[in-house]
Structure formats: structure tokens, C-alpha cells
């Protein structure tokens, strides 16, 4: 995973045009288990399948749907990207806002996105997304980035 450059939130106030991205370094430092959180985004079928010890966590090619880039992914991420994120119930009205934004970024290969873009895809209000992500608390590692 590429490491985004983190913008010091106290230096520039994020706007509707600020791009956000998942900062995987934040997960390393936070002591939280990214793998467990990622597994929450799997569909029921894959959650059951990957929960069985007989399926090894192999690394396979994943082709980005936007730019054709080939990125090696663990089987968990691969299933998330290639299958679970394509299901209609991946993001619903019931999905919590932070989870919905995380899922959008995940499904788009963690391509930096503005609150407006995130709102268009997640079906949430851009204002609500911006307010949530621009506060002092970093939710699930989603932070503003510099290009």
C-alpha cells in the first residue's frame, strides 16, 4: 500500500475540494487490527469462507478498475475489491458514515477523493462527510492528503 502524505490538520482547514485517503500508517501506529476491520466489510459468504483455516491468505494480482494498475493483494483485500465491493449491499443507507467512506476509498483502490466525490458515491451529504473527517478525531485512518 502506498503511504499518503498526511496534511497537518492544524495548518490547513480541509474544504470540499480537499482529498481524503486511508492512511495505513495510522493503522500501524494506532494498535488497532486493520485485518479485523477489513473483514467487517466482507460479504457474508466471504466472511465465512475466509474464516476457515483451510483457505490460505495468498497474495494475488488485482487489477484496478480505474487505471489498470496491477497491485498484489492478500486474498482478504482481493475478495473485498473484486467481489464484496461490487455487491449492492456493500454500501446501503444503513452503513455508518465513516464505514461508508472507508468502503468507497477501499473500493477505489484508496485513490484520494474529495468530500463531494465521496458523497456522490456513498449517497451521504458532502457537508456531513467534510465535518466528520475534518475534526480533531481521525476515524479509521481517513485523513486529508496532499497530492
Amino acid at each position: 500500500m502506498s503511504r499518503p502524505k498526511v496534511l497537518a490538520s492544524n495548518l490547513a482547514k480541509p474544504t470540499f475540494d480537499t482529498k481524503f485517503q486511508i492512511d495505513y500508517e495510522w493503522w500501524d501506529k494506532s494498535g488497532q487490527e486493520l485485518g479485523i476491520y477489513l473483514a467487517e466489510h466482507l460479504c457474508d459468504n466471504h466472511r465465512m469462507t475466509l474464516g476457515q483455516t483451510t483457505i490460505p491468505l495468498v497474495v494475488v494480482d488485482w487489477v484496478d478498475r480505474q487505471n489498470g494498475q496491477v497491485i498484489p493483494q492478500t486474498s482478504l483485500m482481493y475478495f473485498l475489491l473484486s467481489h464484496c465491493s461490487q455487491r449492492p449491499d456493500y454500501i446501503t443507507e444503513r452503513t455508518a458514515l465513516v464505514d461508508a467512506v472507508f468502503r468507497v476509498l477501499l473500493a477505489n483502490g484508496n485513490r484520494p477523493m474529495t468530500p463531494r466525490e465521496l458523497a456522490t458515491i456513498s449517497g451521504r451529504s458532502p457537508d456531513m462527510i467534510l465535518r466528520t473527517l475534518s475534526g480533531r478525531t481521525i476515524y479509521k485512518g481517513i485523513r486529508p492528503v496532499t497530492e
Binding site: 487505471n67 468507497v104 456522490t120
Partner: protein, 577 residues
């Protein structure tokens, strides 16, 4: 109903935008069910499709749309190019077209040149390709390997260097990929996409509102009669031009004249676009106190302020009303009903729903004397309105003779002026019924009275004696239907004006006026009482006041006692109260 219609529109847009790919889903189910399908599926579909054309989504226009500085710059350029002031809807359409054109350009950039990287293509080492998704970078293939994911079938993986980093891309890719599908003609000319004009029909309202708000905050843009133009691009209007405009209006009895006529008669700015010349002169005239813009909405007409009737420039004394605080809850439903029947322009009555074709009103003394009509909530919808002009010149048309009567809507004073002669010619009494009817032309309104063959009737007559207001019933010939409770004949209008002035100068309270008229009116009745409507009509001979404060006073003051229904008399103990 509104919800349904709006959702239906959304559904149509989404379907046309290709968000529901499997249209057979819809055919078997009700529209509402399809809507649910769209709602459930939309997020997932958007992931793969919508990023291509965000402008096709309702959320782009309804939730996310904001007017940017780039938009404003573009509009300025259009205004400069066209040299024509535009209204907000025209600009909104330009903006929608601009956004779509911008998107098309971006799409073209995404689609890229012939050697743009496409996952389906075969590449060899040393081949050059342009990575459109990476800022159109030119890259060279450094290595090729076989793909390792059987889910994709047989494919290759090529390595290229970007910023000293090796990045891999799919090649010989047999599956569907958005970069394979994109082509300019497919994307830009996709017939299933809504055109800018269709998008404007769907979402123009949202764009116009956002634009209006943004333009209002721009210092360098001027709004006149609903049209906007940059101040710095206006043609120069000199004091000489304005003096000539004054002379032209003077020669035409003050106006009203269209700007085009003034420009033609002055013979200026012939080398400018006609609309820009008119707009510039409008701007100059608007900033000069000598001129008054008196046209109805969408039409600019100029009048010389000094030649406007005095009753238009200043509210006639009979119509001046100083608001009085009173408790609205004191009024019984019957009194509220009476207030609605009277239709006073100062009554706090909610405007009727819709826009009726015609309305009937009761003429009170203040308006009869001033030659005006009340601009009540009901009547306000019948007369021409304007974006900004406080005074609007229009034509009343006699419903019987077709005679045209020049008239003015005076919005600040809440009245329509111009009927003195018409009232006198037709002997319309106080309490007479008048009907106002709209025509296809908003600047022409028909007026008629409930005329009939004159017959002798007992009519309440007001007289002034020794600075006192007295009433008696007299036999008079009346040729118009009237409200028996409101009708009052004033024997000497000038004497009544003097008495009203006497009351005003001595600041005689409304309470005293109501008491005086109630006592005098009661003398005409065998029950020694007066109807609330009659008291209202009579009190307005001396002081302009809507029914509310008078009715509240009758209801609460110990000086008055109710004798049943809306009838009142002065309490016998009033002198002790």
C-alpha cells in the same frame, strides 16, 4: 404527490444515465419498487459507472452543486462576448452547458490519444504508451510477465517506471475494463445521457437559485429588471445623456416610456449592442433621482418622478395608517370572518392559495375618497408586480366601456391609484362592490362595478356639524350593488377631510372615534346598536384603520357592550370607564 413526482423524475434520470443497467428489472414491477431497486443498487453502480459522468446524477445538481469562481469567470466572458445582459435562467443554462462541455473535455483527456494505455492491448518490452490516468505520462515498457490470477483468465503484466518507481499494469486483459470501453464518440455522444438542455429542465431551478445567491454577492455585477451584467462592461452614460432623457420624458408627459424609445429619441450609443445600450442607460437612469422605473416585472418603463401624480409619490392622508398593537386572539370566529369579508389591505389575513382570475372587493371611504383600491393580500395577486420597482404604471380597463384608465400600483403604500374620476363618473358608493379581473396581459387589469338600474333606497348618510360626525338615513338613488352594512354616503367630503384633520391634529384616540361613531350609528337603529362592519366603515371616515384593532376594542373595552352577534353599543357606564 410532489414526492412521487420528484422521485419519478429521479428514476427517469437514473435510468437514462444508465445506472439501472438491467432494465428488465423495472418492467415487471411498479415504479415505487423500481425506485427501491435504484436506491439499493445505486451506490454499487455508482462505483463503476458514475465517476465517468457525474453531471448525469441528480445529486451532482441537487446536493453538491456550488457556483465556483471558474463559473463566474465563464459567465463574465459570455456576457462580454454577447454584450447582452442575461437573466438568471439564461445564465443557469449557460452554466449547465459549460459544466457539461468541461466534463466532455475531461472525458476526452481521459480517453486519450491513440497510444493511450488500454488493458486489452498487447505490449512488448520497449513499447511506449501514454498513461492517461497518470496525467498523460509517457512511459516505456520495461518488462512483461504472465498474470497470476486465474480469475482474470490469461493476461500479461507489464512493468513501467513512473517517478523512479516500478509500477505494473495489466495487458492482454480479456475482461471488461473501463479504459478499454472509453472512446470519445461513445462517451461524449452517448444518446442515453441527458443533454445539457434536458439537465437544465430537470435541475435548472437548483442551478438558478445557487447562481442568484452567488451573483448577489458579486460587487461588479449589476442587476436591473431581472437581468445581470458586469458593471465594468457597461457603456458610459453621461450627465448629458441623462439630461436628454429627462427632456424626452418631459415631452411625453413624464412617461411611461420604454428605454428603447428613449435611446432612439436621444440618438445615442448607436454603435453598441441594442440590449447593452438599453441596459447601460437603465443603469444610469436608475442611479438618478429624477427618474423612476415603473414597469411591471420583465418590462422596463421610465417616468419622470416630478411629473408623477402626488398621490403616487406620497400616500394620501386618508390612507395613512399607523399600526396599532392588538391581541388577535380577542376576535371571535365571527369577527375574523367579517374581517376577511372586508378585505382591508392592512389586515393580517393569509393570502389565498393559487392566483384567482378575478376578485371582488368592498370599497371603504378612505379608498373611495383617495380614488384608490386596497392592495389587499387577495388583490395583490391581481395587479402587476415588479422585481424591484416600488411604483408600477399599468392600465385599468373599464369592464363595460373598455375605457383605459392609467393607474399605478404603489407597493409601499399598499394601494392602486388612478380611479378618482372613474368612481365619480359611476357614482360608486362607499360599501359598493367592485370586481377586478386579470387579463392575458399582466399590465392590463379589468375593473367593473356591480351596476344596476338606479333605485331610491334609504342610505346611511354622514354629516359634519360643529366638528362632530353625525349620521342620518336619507333616500338616495343608487345604481350599484353595495353591502348594506358598509354603505355610507358622505354629504360633504371636503368637510369630512377637515374633520379628519381636526381629529388628527388633536390626536383624538381611536377609542374615542369608535365610541363616537358607535353612539351616533346606534341612534339610527331601533335596537340602539350598530354592526361591527358599520362601525369599521364609519370609523374610517375619520381615521384609517383595519377591522382588527376596532373589533378587538369592541370585544375588550368596557366602553362597549355586545347586544348579541356582531352588534354593539356604547355602554351606559362608558363615561365611568
Amino acid at each position: 404527490m410532489f414526492w412521487k413526482s420528484r422521485q419519478t423524475q429521479q428514476l427517469r434520470v437514473w435510468i437514462r444515465a444508465g445506472i439501472i443497467i438491467d432494465r428488465s428489472d423495472c418492467s415487471a414491477y411498479s415504479l415505487d419498487f423500481c425506485l427501491c431497486l435504484v436506491k439499493v443498487h445505486s451506490s454499487a453502480w455508482r462505483l463503476s459507472h458514475v465517476t465517468l459522468r457525474p453531471t448525469q446524477l441528480p445529486s451532482y445538481w441537487v446536493e453538491s452543486f456550488q457556483v465556483t469562481q471558474f463559473d463566474i469567470d465563464h459567465l463574465y466572458n459570455v456576457l462580454l462576448e454577447k454584450e447582452t445582459p442575461l437573466n438568471v435562467d439564461e445564465m443557469a443554462l449557460i452554466l449547465v452547458r459549460h459544466r457539461i462541455s468541461d466534463e466532455n473535455e475531461t472525458t476526452t483527456k481521459i480517453t486519450g490519444p491513440d497510444n493511450a494505455y488500454r488493458p486489452a492491448n498487447h505490449y512488448n518490452v520497449e513499447d511506449e504508451l501514454i498513461l492517461t490516468e497518470f496525467g498523460n505520462r509517457l512511459a516505456k515498457v520495461l518488462a512483461v510477465r504472465d498474470g497470476t490470477n486465474p480469475d482474470y483468465g490469461r493476461y500479461s503484466v507489464i512493468s513501467v517506471a513512473i517517478d523512479d518507481k516500478i509500477i505494473e499494469f495489466a495487458a492482454d486483459f480479456p475482461g471488461e475494463h473501463v479504459l478499454n470501453e472509453k472512446s470519445i464518440s461513445e462517451i461524449v455522444n452517448d444518446a442515453s445521457q441527458l443533454s445539457p438542455e434536458e439537465l437544465f429542465i430537470e435541475f435548472g431551478g437548483e442551478v438558478s437559485n445557487a447562481l442568484q445567491e452567488r451573483l448577489a454577492g458579486q460587487d461588479d455585477i449589476v442587476k436591473l429588471a431581472g437581468r445581470w451584467f458586469p458593471r465594468s462592461l457597461l457603456a458610459d452614460v453621461t450627465m448629458g445623456h441623462l439630461n436628454l432623457a429627462e427632456a424626452v420624458l418631459d415631452m411625453n408627459s413624464g412617461g411611461p416610456l420604454e428605454t428603447r424609445v428613449i435611446v432612439e429619441q436621444i440618438g445615442i450609443m448607436s454603435d453598441f449592442n441594442v440590449r447593452l445600450a438599453e441596459f447601460s442607460l437603465n443603469y444610469g437612469l436608475q442611479r438618478d433621482e429624477r427618474f423612476d422605473e415603473v414597469g411591471p416585472a420583465g418590462k422596463v418603463l421610465w417616468f419622470l418622478r416630478r411629473l408623477e401624480p402626488i398621490e403616487v409619490q406620497t400616500t394620501p392622508p386618508n390612507l395613512v395608517f399607523t399600526p396599532i398593537d392588538y391581541d388577535l386572539t380577542l376576535l371571535s370566529p365571527e369577527l375574523i370572518q367579517l374581517e376577511q369579508e372586508i378585505g382591508d389591505e392592512h389586515s393580517p389575513i393569509a393570502p389565498p392559495r393559487g392566483r384567482p382570475q378575478s376578485a371582488t372587493l368592498l370599497l371603504n371611504y378612505a379608498h373611495r375618497r383617495a380614488g384608490t383600491l386596497p392592495l389587499s393580500h387577495q388583490l395583490r395577486q391581481m395587479f402587476p408586480t415588479a422585481y424591484e420597482a416600488p411604483r408600477i404604471r399599468f392600465m385599468l380597463v373599464d369592464g363595460v366601456s373598455g375605457e383605459e384608465i392609467p393607474a399605478w400600483v404603489v407597493r409601499p403604500g399598499g394601494y392602486v391609484y388612478g380611479l378618482s374620476h372613474w368612481f365619480a363618473d359611476h357614482d360608486v358608493p362607499v360599501g359598493g362592490y367592485l370586481t377586478v379581473t386579470r387579463t392575458d396581459d399582466p399590465s392590463r387589469v379589468t375593473i367593473s362595478y356591480a351596476g344596476r338600474k338606479p333605485r331610491i333606497e334609504w342610505i346611511r348618510t354622514a354629516q359634519v356639524r360643529d366638528n362632530r360626525l353625525l349620521f342620518e338615513n336619507r333616500k338616495l338613488a343608487v345604481g350599484c350593488d353595495f353591502d348594506d352594512l358598509m354603505v355610507i354616503d358622505v354629504e360633504d367630503p371636503d368637510g369630512m377631510d377637515s374633520l379628519a384633520k381636526y381629529y388628527r391634529d388633536r390626536r383624538i384616540s381611536l377609542d374615542t372615534i369608535v365610541q363616537d361613531v358607535c353612539r351616533e350609528l346606534s341612534k339610527l337603529s331601533q335596537q340602539d346598536s350598530a354592526h361591527a362592519k358599520t362601525i369599521y366603515s364609519a370609523a374610517n371616515l375619520l381615521r384609517r384603520c383595519p377591522p382588527g384593532p376596532i373589533f378587538a376594542m369592541l370585544s375588550i373595552s368596557p366602553r362597549f357592550e355586545s347586544v348579541g352577534g356582531p352588534y354593539w353599543r356604547v355602554s351606559e357606564n362608558s363615561h365611568n370607564a
